[in-house]
Symmetry: C2
Subunit: 310 residues, 2 copies
């Protein structure tokens, strides 16, 4: 691989949209995606990897356009029966989506690593980029709230983000190891991109994998982050609410502070241009552009802005 | 329980039809069903119990009327995706049916026994009879054929019963133990019924569980079998072909010979009345009646014939 690849740290929906655009700016084969698995959880013994699957389904053109996750047109007969049996079914798992979890769980039980399993699933749907889980370990993100200590998905989906967040932690992450393939991806890359994803529950877990920050720093590559917050609001998900409750500014500035020391370049939305000076004060180069990816042209333009020149 | 219960050894489709009739003749609560699990197998790590599920779905009024197994109106989206991933998908598993297998596998992995899991599934769908697996062990029936040694389901479904059968064996059955609940069922029973099911692959495995034949004999109860063969043909499945290839008469007489020493009473179809003398020669009482269960009235009449007087 020539040094024209890009390594992208990715959460779910926002990151997937960004990756669609990036794949129009550089060949998808040159993109190595490091996917968050801190949002993984288990239902009826099945290993669910929501962010990895959102990336896969989106890049495969199979994602539900209305939800942004899950499979387009998927129905829920299997889940309804599971519910009749007494399974906890607050997490929506469609019939086809369940096949992914069943197959992944089966391969993991046969002894394959999550990286190989993820690659096989991606290959099935024709993904041209390389999708790596941040780690092969199960290291679920926990959210300590005023209503107890919750698995991230319990907080997000079951409780609909209503409890007040007191702390976010990445359980077992200190024992986790980076998934194989990342050093090779970095060796062929000219840039690392932190996709527009929640800094606490999508990017935070990836950066918490032991050695991850050092590896990025030691690569000597420019690290470019895209703010997931626009005008103080997240386009999707609870990023603003969570930042606020944890005492951070619920804005691009708050995100920039969390990525200080990791990202040297930061892309913010035109709505946030007033924050440019403050973010530059953190030692980052700042680019102001439209970051709201409403259509394909927006996605491509954002990817072009990220890729430079800087 | 008063001594008016019935214990029924049951395979799949034929047995389920018989049980529908029996439940109109005596209260379903008084029926203890010992279901064959020799046809169990595993797909993607899921434990499938086809005969148990056929009984459950039939008694629950949820069985597909056209197939006689599986769930009415069930669709196959999940299986189609599993197939895309490379799973072996020659066994038809519908979306709702898969929920049963997922839930069963999950409960088994949590440490519950198959008897308890089967009872929970049956309870979910309102079954009033008690459904027991013949054993909690995994003891799959193997079919040695001219095309190799096959799992029963490989022979039945994947190979569509085409290979010539050389031997049928019940793997691991000698280490299996009767599932709990059967002695209690027998204690409250006035009769044991061997439902009209394939003697080699439905009833044979049940009788091969160590202690099963002794338990039936020691109970002192009349054991009444219904021939699954009518006019030398099975109404469903490969019983006639298998019996013939193994050198047995492909008729009610062949079935009676296999059950000699176990069943003292035998119900054959009017089409087979010429066999009455020969079967009586085996030391069995024989009743001749219509055994073809085309509609509800047939099912009830057959159950009444079985229940006597003899």
């Amino acid at each position: 691989m020539s040094s024209q690849g890009v390594v992208v740290l990715a959460g779910g929906v926002g990151a997937s949209k960004f990756l669609l655009g990036l794949g129009r700016v550089i060949p998808p084969e040159r993109i190595t995606i490091v996917g968050n698995t801190g949002d993984d959880f288990k239902v009826c013994g099945l290993r669910i990897c929501p962010d990895l699957d959102t990336v896969t389904y989106t890049l495969a053109g199979k994602v539900s356009p209305s939800r942004g996750w899950g499979v387009a047109g998927d129905e829920f007969d299997c889940l309804e029966w599971l519910q009749a049996y007494g399974a906890p079914c607050w997490f929506q798992l469609g019939n086809r989506d369940l096949a992914t979890h069943l197959w992944r769980t089966h391969l993991l039980e046969q002894g394959l690593g999550l990286a190989e399993v993820t690659a096989r699933i991606a290959r099935t749907w024709g993904l041209r980029s390389q999708l790596l889980p941040m780690t092969e370990s199960y290291a679920p993100t926990r959210v300590l709230t005023d209503q107890g200590d919750l698995h991230l998905q319990e907080y997000l989906v079951r409780e609909k983000c209503r409890p007040r967040v007191l702390q976010v932690s990445y359980r077992h992450v200190e024992q986790s190891r980076m998934s194989p393939g990342l050093p090779e991806g970095l060796a062929g890359a000219c840039r690392v991109v932190i996709a527009p994803s929640n800094p606490l529950i999508s990017i935070g877990p990836i950066l918490a994998v032991p050695g991850m920050k050092d590896l990025l720093r030691d690569s000597g590559l420019p690290v470019t982050a895209v703010s997931p917050l626009v005008g103080g609001r997240a386009l999707k998900g609870p990023a603003a609410k969570m930042l606020k409750e944890l005492g951070h500014p619920a804005s691009a500035l708050g995100v920039a502070r969390m990525l200080q020391g990791v990202a040297g370049q930061f892309v913010i939305d035109t709505q946030d241009k007033a924050l440019k000076k403050d973010i530059e004060g953190l030692g980052m180069q700042v680019k102001v552009t439209n970051t709201v990816m409403a259509g394909p042209a927006d996605k491509v333009a954002l990817a072009q802005a990220v890729m430079g020149p800087w």
